[in-house]
Symmetry: D2
Subunit: 363 residues, 4 copies
């Protein structure tokens, strides 16, 4: 469905960059889950631009829980979260009503909506809509954590700089979730920030790769074929603006392996538990969890809004033109996108778990 994802647990998103606000409706969460508004706030902060490497648009992302929470706990009925837009300067955008910013959806929106789209600041296509995903995802992350399931994402690569790989995954996740700029190695992080600033100085932007790990998912979750963990996660991940690639486990690197390397050998641990010696399959065999950490990576394209002059068209006049996108832009969004990935993964997992174990399992 266009604006709703999930079956047993689902989310519906709406809003525009310069409209009245962003809403997310989270449906199907079990009753009795504590809702910590402070945690929702702190997650929204991770998505918000900050510092020299971000856009100058500053929003507090004040949110209001309109339904589905009573006395601090989920009721089991749909949870609506509203984040009103503030600090909107629509004058910055009015010029671009008919200009197709390269890499953006202005032209495709025109083709689909015939001129009725809200063109201000990307309208419904703006990354700002993901704030609703983050707010709803925070509730899911809390519920999962109570069940021993942790999710964390680091910037594996940005501006040509690579972070170190996951080591002790649970510890790494805890550490990442404390950070605004989520890297495992602080030195790499500094170099990434330098690369971002360098791009900014060049009136340009950079992309990156986000790597996510999920621990604590029991074996036997998911389904073969259309409800495979990969299918469901990828469906949601590719809904997030700027994500152009998703790979599970060793992903594209598996294309260069031989079977003897790619096959993760099953072993019985000392405690009788089952594990695999390697985890090239990212914790998933045949669409179903095998008990190992679920790992995946997302390619984030460079922010399409750059300050340099670009070639494009006026799609109403049907004319070529050169133009400069006014205003100040994010030279990178990869660091802000990471909490969106965590949130998306949490929502998808809650759905998969509720389908597998029923609507009460998460409480």
């Amino acid at each position: 469905m266009k604006d709703t994802f999930g079956e047993s647990v689902s989310i519906t998103i709406a809003g525009e960059s310069h409209g009245k606000g962003i809403t997310a409706v989270l449906s199907g969460m079990a009753p009795g889950i504590p809702v910590d508004e402070g945690f929702i706030s702190s997650q929204l902060t991770k998505r918000r631009p900050s510092g020299a490497i971000s856009t100058a648009r500053q929003e507090e992302d004040k949110f209001e829980v309109l339904s589905g929470v009573f006395g601090g706990f989920t009721t089991g009925t749909p949870i609506t979260i509203l984040i009103r837009n503030e600090n909107i300067q629509s004058k910055d955008y009015s010029e671009i009503a008919t200009t197709a910013r390269p890499g953006h959806a202005d032209y495709t929106a025109e083709c689909k909506y015939h001129g009725f789209q809200d063109y201000r600041g990307g309208g419904h296509f703006s990354g700002r809509i993901t704030a609703g995903i983050v707010a709803a995802g925070a509730i899911c992350l809390s519920a999962l954590e109570k069940k021993g399931i942790k999710i964390g994402t680091h910037i594996a690569k940005c501006g040509g700089v690579s972070d170190r790989k996951f080591g002790d995954i649970e510890k790494d996740i805890d550490s990442l979730n404390e950070k605004l700029f989520a890297v495992l190695d602080e030195n790499s992080g500094k170099k990434m920030e330098e690369a971002i600033l360098s791009a900014k100085n060049d009136l340009d932007s950079v992309g990156g790769i986000l790597e996510t790990a999920i621990t604590g998912v029991p074996a036997g979750i998911g389904e073969p074929y259309f409800d495979s963990i990969e299918s469901e996660l990828a469906h949601f991940l590719f809904s997030i603006p700027a994500i152009k690639g998703v790979e599970f486990g060793s992903g594209f690197a598996m294309a260069d392996m031989r079977g003897s390397e790619a096959n993760d050998a099953f072993r019985i641990g000392e405690n009788g538990g089952i594990f695999t010696k390697t985890n090239h399959n990212g914790g998933i065999n045949g669409g179903i969890s095998n008990g190992m950490p679920i790992t995946f990576r997302c390619a984030v394209k460079p922010t399409p809004s750059i300050s340099a002059e670009q070639e494009t068209i006026d799609f109403v006049k049907g004319e070529n033109k050169n133009f400069v996108i006014k205003g100040r832009h994010d030279p990178a969004i990869v660091h802000r996108a990471r909490v969106v990935i965590d949130s998306a993964a949490a929502i998808v997992l809650c759905d998969i778990l509720a389908k597998r174990f029923g609507t009460d399992w998460l409480r």
Copy 2:
């Protein structure tokens, strides 16, 4: 949904490797589409193992259209296709009822189905289920071709050998669709086959990358967020066994680009048509087609069934063991998977187009 994908046009798949057969139900296709059983057959042939580089299991893949076709045309009501299993040698597999073949779903199936799964030949997890996708997809491919939409996939990489890139895409697609081993450059193809045979001699297997191009999709198709073209294609593609990565356009390579490079500049063509100078976004902006070819790549992991001895467990006894998978195996499936990718893409596109333009558009 577990076994059904799509809304306006949908497919439901069922079957096991060593059961009575494979079925696919294709629902929602417009009435009046010619159904060419010869073409379905030829598509199934592309998926079937053949030659030295494939398994010795030879099946004719005789299919029967049980419903939804009348007088050679689709009726508009659901089309059921049955492909009976033949040439089954279940004795090859009986030993493995409790052994987790590495890289396979034997262990995860046990966790999910508690011993009731049909373990013979991978049961429902077998790549053989994709025969139903291919048969149904053939009808979709025919319908799309009549509307000027072409789909083609080549083996971009296999066993470390790369094919040439797409050139004249429409011509390349036509050429690929005539081939059993789909490469653009025949010399590369020969080297790939050598690499496959070399792996086979080493009792091993290889993986690869499949690259797909779709031409003729009008601009303005798809939706932002959960019905984005990327989300819908990736959902289906990750349902196909062995696919561990999907990227659109330049995908993961965009992570290393700057915005000035990744932003595809819009231009007005001599005929007044709109195109982009590059196509790093793979024909999709904001989830919606921009009229350029839609391109994506899938990572195919090496066949997990290899002839070498492997470490694993008996998951009923809870014991480590070494074992050798008996029988003969595909040292590569990437060349057989390409027609599955084409078929999946065709089914997804028919759904997207029917949602956009209505149930009669495809006729």
Copy 3:
């Protein structure tokens, strides 16, 4: 899905009687549909209690369109409507946290939500949630009217009093849509109001039957089986609180007919158009519209909140008790429910038409 209905056009509803407000997200409406906030207001007025025959809780039902409308027209992206709750007197309800009001969902909510439900005023089970359906439905009704499709509902029966039958249906619909108490015969209406007041005086309530007609739906819309017009309408109608029966055309009366009577004879009209001499099938054959008015009737149970003493239980203490529901109650809701029915029918029809003719058809 729990809180979302529809595929190409869908609605997601949320909220509680005494929470912050009610929200509805309408997704998939074509771009370019004029949105008349005055019409939404007037539709909400029809649902609002008024006069001696209604509850004393008076709400203005001020609504805010948060997204999806730009410059007075739909954008094509999701439309969020928020109706804040006002004039809430939660003290009236606090006593009933553990008392199962007969005919209400207090006990079933406890069984499902384990005490976490918002019990104030029925919480999420309150008829108040239908305000969101009415607001969203108003946009759908406007879009349909532009395409020549009209929907109207009258109180066919209430408190034992019957209204006259539909005559000139289009004219009757126009007339009904001007009224707050929707009857075709004013005298019958007065008798119904007397019956309602009489029940109120007896500390009791009455039910009724709502009959709906839809004109202008072209033949060939809908699907056999699970997307039959009957299935889709009934699914939504039975989601509306207090609806306990739905019948199409002559419905249950057909059970007593013979085929020679029930079979609506097809005829060619003078203008070459096709019609049926009778319309026992309610404009639907095999789930698909035949061009005749679509007609259906809904049974509305009497308001379960009555002022008389009733037997019930305290479901926490596990004790029988007698109790009186405090506050003032609607002695009938049938007249308020009629605009909910119109709205539900409009939303369902928009979905069916968008699936049939594509997402742009309604503009």
Copy 4:
């Protein structure tokens, strides 16, 4: 979705009256449920015409389970059942390719499928497609019975003759499920059969009402709004050909009640269990089960195929005509439809229970 119903447990149906056969794919059933082919057969027998009161078309309804069952148990993966058509006399139907049989879907099929529909014997609109529902439903009924849930339906009314009401419901259900002509009172049954034969002698047909009871459903199952038990059951029930009305509990009779009568008083039983003194709400409050028997009634219209001459049109020539449907017809289908109702209810309940308690609950 058009041909698929359900989320956690779903069914996909396909086939035509005179095509190769009917298929049903049942997806999402828990692993480990015993599949008794003899019981499936006996259920199909209940749907099959028999005796003087039925059509002369006799089919054995031999079925084949193509997938999803291994060693006599469900595997947890999709179950495909194929029932081939036999004893087809297509010559009986060839004349009617362009004639709209009154009360049938011939004309609406033409409007939707533009002449490509399989017109033989009603094609996809034939009641024969319900054989797939019965076969799949038999597996669901078995699974439910193991969990203490029983479903039974009687012919509450047929040809103007009423059966007695349900008494000891569980005992009545057991008794009904042994019968081919399902009445609680044998004398009423005889009178019904006489009424049917009388209609047959008049070249006519009769309709009726089917009443269903479901016992053993725990309280707290279902959801408010769109996944209400009423919504889900009604959605499926209205997909069954000839069903024109559905009511729960006292249904339309509640429209004439006052609240004091319609409100089912909750009471604590001697064993501490909770029950209601009456069951006008049919075991459902706010869409959720309250532990009382779930009861509903379906209006079945008289068989539209009658032997008398009827007025109609040739929709290709655009001409009025009188015609007689050749062949022999069912003068009533209400007795055959009852097992379809049972089966539909079982499939819907399995879905609702799997959503509530998870995919393993039914095993």
